[in-house]
Symmetry: C3
Subunit: 200 residues, 3 copies
Amino acid sequence: MEETLLFVIEVLGTVAFAISGIRLAATKGFDWFGAYTVGLVTAIGGGTLRDLLLDIPVFWMQTSWYLVVTGLSLATVIVFRSLLVSRDRILFVFDSIGLALFCVIGIQKTLAAGYPMWVATAMGVITGAFGGVIRDILINDEPIIFQKDIYATACLAGGLVYWLMAEAGAEAAWQQISCAAMVIGLRIASLKYNLQLPKV
Amino acid sequence: MEETLLFVIEVLGTVAFAISGIRLAATKGFDWFGAYTVGLVTAIGGGTLRDLLLDIPVFWMQTSWYLVVTGLSLATVIVFRSLLVSRDRILFVFDSIGLALFCVIGIQKTLAAGYPMWVATAMGVITGAFGGVIRDILINDEPIIFQKDIYATACLAGGLVYWLMAEAGAEAAWQQISCAAMVIGLRIASLKYNLQLPKV
Amino acid sequence: MEETLLFVIEVLGTVAFAISGIRLAATKGFDWFGAYTVGLVTAIGGGTLRDLLLDIPVFWMQTSWYLVVTGLSLATVIVFRSLLVSRDRILFVFDSIGLALFCVIGIQKTLAAGYPMWVATAMGVITGAFGGVIRDILINDEPIIFQKDIYATACLAGGLVYWLMAEAGAEAAWQQISCAAMVIGLRIASLKYNLQLPKV
């Protein structure tokens, strides 16, 4: 039951990330293959970098559904072109939930590989945020998260909450839920109050 | 005998890929080191990403001839500057043969590492097409294969043919030859009939 | 004593590399997280690629001081904004010393992993020069070292000196010192006499 819920959340997160990549690819006039690749890289790029750095088997090569879900995302965007027009609220919610889950997964996998919490926090940020960086590199834009989004900061804050909960002796499930809540809460707050990090 | 033939084809493919990178680097005013690096990355980038993802020893670190052949390609371009002017037919043929061989090598290595056919097909595409993507990132262009070439699609079709031949019980050599023929045939057809994937 | 000296040099090199990234990020209007990331990637990117290619544990995941030093570099740039204005001489010296040390470390680690000298030279170049390449990709510029700097060439020359000293039977310490001296000497000479590689 809990596993099914996590699976559904991960699918929704993957869809949200893939669609964000596909939409940006469309604005650049990419063809189906280009859009598929950019969508896929947005969804799996951060986790792939994490798995390479941790020297563990790359997650999307163990099951084909990441590739399949990205294909379905592309088909959805092609059929319902209105998805291309505006960044609607539902996608923002999926995207925030996906970010929170990806961040938690990154932290968990790193701790399971025997690394300390500061490495795990870094891997949470990488898992959540670097798919978007690679996406922006592929479409030849300056990475958006380096300029106005608090995407990565939300992951970082989530990692700190995870850390504090662990130090406080909370159960693993509560560590994860607190982390995810922090990521989602900070994302929503940043949208509502237009929060940004200072520029250098 | 067969091994010598494969070696010659791989050298020609490496030369064709390296020259495509060196020529683009020249249009950007890169110096010798820059042109060498872009040429090398075009030739070995896809295979390097594949080997990292498969967690097997990186192929170009096992023998120095990839670096040597790239150096000879650079020397050739510098001496015969006319090579810089137009994408001639011979290079297109080398490039297509190289693409087909790289695609077959990617599939073979992945199957040998114990992965299923869908991962092997993905690795065929990565081996053949992603050197060019990294090249375009290094020269700060939008990846050409995401916009008008059917480069990656040819690899994908080649992978499907490989798969079908394997399912049909064909010998390994025939699987590989059919795959390569599909890649080369589709490349030539796409040039002749100006085939392109639809845009999103 | 010698180890303390090496540690101090590596810290200074990391600071110089990180500041070069942070300053370029500032010119693009990146926020704190973006500047931190670009600074970090400039400092650790080359070594990370090297460790992935060698399939050895990634160096900056073993101790937190690389992340800490980058944070201090960012704080320094924010507080002393005058650091943003001009590429001063002190940074150039740190940068050259850092480059030399990174190059030597790359060669040593590769030889320790059992690879021949030509791979070690390639890894010396990658360790020293590719953090800057990834930095330029992240800020969406054409890599500066492909166009006018003799950064990578200095590493290459240093690798050749290392090689020659090893062939001549010199002690390990002398191989390393000669290599570093070559890198630093060539950097300074290139600045003084405005040396550049020819363009293609």
